[in-house]
Symmetry: C2
Subunit: 549 residues, 2 copies
């Protein structure tokens, strides 16, 4: 009997391919890489966050998922683990120590037993898959990529990576291991494409230290450092500076406090107890003795930084003399919110330090030269660029071709596309599985589909208008005054003329349409819509309710 085909399916929850989840499948056996969330685009109105679409997996009861293997502890890779566990409550989760700790914070205690600790360099077997995690550098410690031996050859998945030759935690890239995969023969390289449009080499994380040093040297008042809760190395750099310049360090925000506690416990953060202060007592310290870690570097309205910027924080306010460091880059789509936050902080008298003014942030992802290095180390037969929008993948593909990989061995798959691998070749199949978004809004998952978002789009743009009118059941005559409810369309109090025009249109229409109720409502809605458009050139949602009394 012929061996089954191996199937590789990126199932991202975002415009980035395979960023949040990837499935590897061989016959009835499968493993899943990562389970992360993404933030909604600006036009995904009201959506809190996005998770990968699990329906391909849930609809295949014969498929045995032997493990969820995790590359690292950032939200876009672990943020949907709790949703995954809900859907697949028996699948073990494989993660390195720090990553495992961060996942535990997200899971209820009963599920902690699902987590299996792994170490870079120590392979483990999940049915037909032999998985070797290998150490990579990124902007959080304990990151791995995976070298996965399959019945059709070796797959190397880089995870998020950069080649940092001078990493904060001292753990250098494992060049030897990558080279050894190259010597054994890599069938398929799946590699991070995030910075494929950026020439050169991403600077080491340590290169932001001088900028931090300058800030600490010059600041006369409090310092606040805003970054992601999971950017552990930034927290380490800040702690080093706090120690050097004799400031007490305060961690604000539940998640960041949990993460710091955990990372210190397992020695991934080296912060002496003596320099940590109780955030509730920060006001009792002199400003020049204080450095605070805050969240909200993406301008998120509910985070500490945004509350401070808009004067909505309960305990604290920003005052002249404060120095605020934004140690992150805006994720595309967040620029406006980030810059608005910066402007508001400046308005309150703060000195705001951000890239490009000072290098207080570097990327955690490889640039073009590092991508070339990765390809030349692993010497793959095929490459499938992942982790990026299509434009990044295509650019990564060009780099691969420059490195000698034939164009027809560069595979561009989008989320939900099935890549097949057998002894003959690796190729994109024509099969597509549900690989799109699942929206999480409020307490519910997935009940907000495209139709609802489209309605929100219309409501956001032009609002709605409802006319409620009573008619005599026998004669069809209008009784009383049509009631009008409208929001988001125009300011009704200043629009008496328009309201009268609408009422006129309603009466006219009902005079000539005494037919059955359903039809009459449709005719009425159309007539009102027409009136509104000709008066205002806008198209609010229009509803007519005709009560027969």
């Amino acid at each position: 009997m012929a061996r089954p085909t191996l199937r590789v399916i990126p199932l991202g929850g975002s415009g980035e391919v395979g960023k949040n989840m990837t499935v590897l499948e061989y016959g009835n056996d499968a493993i899943v890489i990562d389970s992360g969330i993404m933030f909604p685009a600006n036009d995904m109105h009201g959506v809190d966050y996005i998770i990968p679409d699990f329906s391909y997996l849930t609809q295949r009861p014969h498929l045995k998922i032997h493990g969820l293997i995790i590359t690292h502890g950032h939200e876009d890779h672990i943020g949907a683990v709790s949703h995954f566990v809900e859907a697949f409550p028996r699948v073990p989760i494989y993660a390195t120590r720090l990553t495992a700790g961060l996942i535990k914070v997200k899971l209820s205690t009963e599920h902690h037993a699902l987590i299996k600790m792994i170490n870079a360099g120590e392979p483990f077997t999940l049915s037909v898959f032999n998985v070797e995690p290998f150490h990579v550098c990124h902007s959080i410690p304990d990151c791995v990529g995976f070298a996965i031996d399959t019945p059709h050859g070796l797959i190397v998945h880089t995870g998020d990576y950069k080649f940092d030759n001078n990493p904060i935690d001292g753990k250098r890239p494992d060049y030897a291991r990558l080279a050894s995969y190259g010597q054994r023969g890599v069938r398929l390289l799946m590699a991070d494409s995030t910075n494929s449009d950026k020439p050169g080499w991403t600077p080491p994380e340590i290169t932001i230290e001088p900028a931090f040093d300058k800030v600490f040297q010059q600041a006369k008042g409090r310092i606040m450092v805003a970054t992601f809760a999971s950017l552990i190395s930034r927290i380490q750099i800040t702690a080093n500076m706090a120690q050097k310049y004799g400031r007490k360090m305060f961690i604000t925000g539940f998640t960041m406090r949990e993460y710091v506690k955990l990372a210190r416990e397992i020695n991934y953060l080296d912060i002496p107890e003596s320099i940590l202060g109780d955030a509730n007592k920060v006001s009792s310290y002199e400003p020049h003795k204080v450095v605070m870690m805050v969240t909200g570097s993406q301008g998120e309205p509910s985070a500490v930084l945004s509350k401070l910027a808009h004067g909505r924080h309960r305990q604290m306010e920003v005052v002249p003399g404060d120095t605020i460091v934004l140690s992150s880059h805006p994720i595309p789509g967040n620029e406006e919110m980030v810059y608005r936050t910066i402007n508001k902080l400046i308005e309150r008298g703060a000195n705001v330090v951000y890239d490009p003014l000072e290098r207080v942030h570097v990327s955690g992802h490889a640039c073009q030269e590092e991508m070339r290095l990765m390809i030349n180390l692993t010497k793959p037969e095929y490459i499938m660029p992942v982790h990026g929008e299509l434009r990044h993948l295509v650019q990564h593909g060009k780099i691969a071709v420059e490195c000698g990989i034939p164009q027809d061995k560069v595979i561009f798959a989008e989320n939900g596309m099935v890549v097949e691998m057998d002894k003959v070749s690796v190729r994109k199949s024509s099969e597509r599985v549900p690989g799109g978004y699942v929206f999480v809004d409020g307490s519910s998952v997935g009940d907000i589909g495209k139709a609802v978002i489209r309605d929100r789009e219309i409501l956001a743009s032009d609002g709605f208008l409802i006319v409620n009118v009573n008619v005599n059941k026998q004669t069809g005559d209008v009784l009383g005054r049509p009631e009008i409810i409208s929001r988001g369309f125009i300011y009704l109090r200043d629009s008496d003329d328009l309201l009268e025009t609408i009422r006129g249109a309603v009466l006219d229409t009902l005079k000539t349409n005494r037919s059955a109720n359903g039809k009459r409502q449709d005719v009425l809605q159309e007539s009102i819509s027409r009136t509104l458009y000709s008066e205002t050139k806008r198209r609010p949602m229009v509803f007519a309710v005709v009560n027969e009394v």
Copy 2:
């Protein structure tokens, strides 16, 4: 009698200070600089564009506006001229030749007589103001700044500028004139801050030519160049390349065609008739003989590029082999739309060329070294950074202090703040005038206020739900089944349980509340809102209509 104070008031329609409009006022005499539009932020739902708030001017009938003086022909400086003319139909408009032509396109013929042609280096007098336009380089020809002699000293307003030593149109910066102002003594410099966070010197416009040359050399199929309609120098560079590589050039879009026609007529564009083709006949040419200019480089959904990307264009479609050049940078807030457009074009097989992949765009604004040069040439006593968000102004201020201007002579004003100038000093007063946004939506100006936008925000996030219920006038008993209309909240068809819960809550509430109608509706709305929140953790707008029958 003491001389009146001179008042300088930035009245922008955007987060950028004084970008779209500035008022200079001395006693009862005033002049206005520029009247432009801005694009709405992502959370200004449904707004088409923003114009400056004219209400400060309209509410001061004693104020005589002697002229609207225009720096250059970009939309953020001339886009609201038609609104200005509507409000002040007798105020003459002073503009250089190309700018005047671009304004004419926007005004009805009867208003063309308002436009007075001016030339760089030729001063004119508007009551107490002696205005000398001086040539500056930017990304459209015929740009000027203004040196304005006032009773309290010389004000130099740079307009948008860069020091381009090798400009496409051959017209170099007028260093001598700027230096002469410095020698005469500049009281106040108002200078462009757009790129104050960028070190160095903005490259000349001509430095994009090699990237264009490479595109034309390598492209095997059609080339499309996307840029702003008013980026005349990009159109010139494209025309030069079309001529060099034997392609026919097609201008698409009404505005760009009008602008090209006008600029050619008055010799600001040098495009021989022979290389221009009729855009309606583009399909009859071989692909490698075609270059098209298209609009939509900011991802605007209604522009040609976005229609092509999403397959919504009536006559044309993008096919493999097409090369598309995005010759512009995303304006902050547009990144997501621009990148989505790029991804969609790539999906259709196009080769998309954009910065940073190739340098096909350079900024039209000065970087830090040019700002230093401007300050050192004009040697102002005071500086008021303009044209930028607060963060840019503050950075520009730091540069000014480095150049020797005392900190207390750096003036940061926001839109609507009044800067006073007399013989003693220039200073920010405590007076604030309406300096905010006026929204233009559909056919109407200004009737969309913050309240409507806030409603749209809520609707965009959680939608609405309306319950319509009939009750017996005498008994208060509910008649029939409550009708529910909802959009943007959840997908109703899949929500039978929730609908039943709502109906149950309605019946319960009305059973215990048989009081007067107004109060009863309020109680009902509150009860429904509570039910929805506890069931879904969302807060749609809720309305209850109780009909007594």
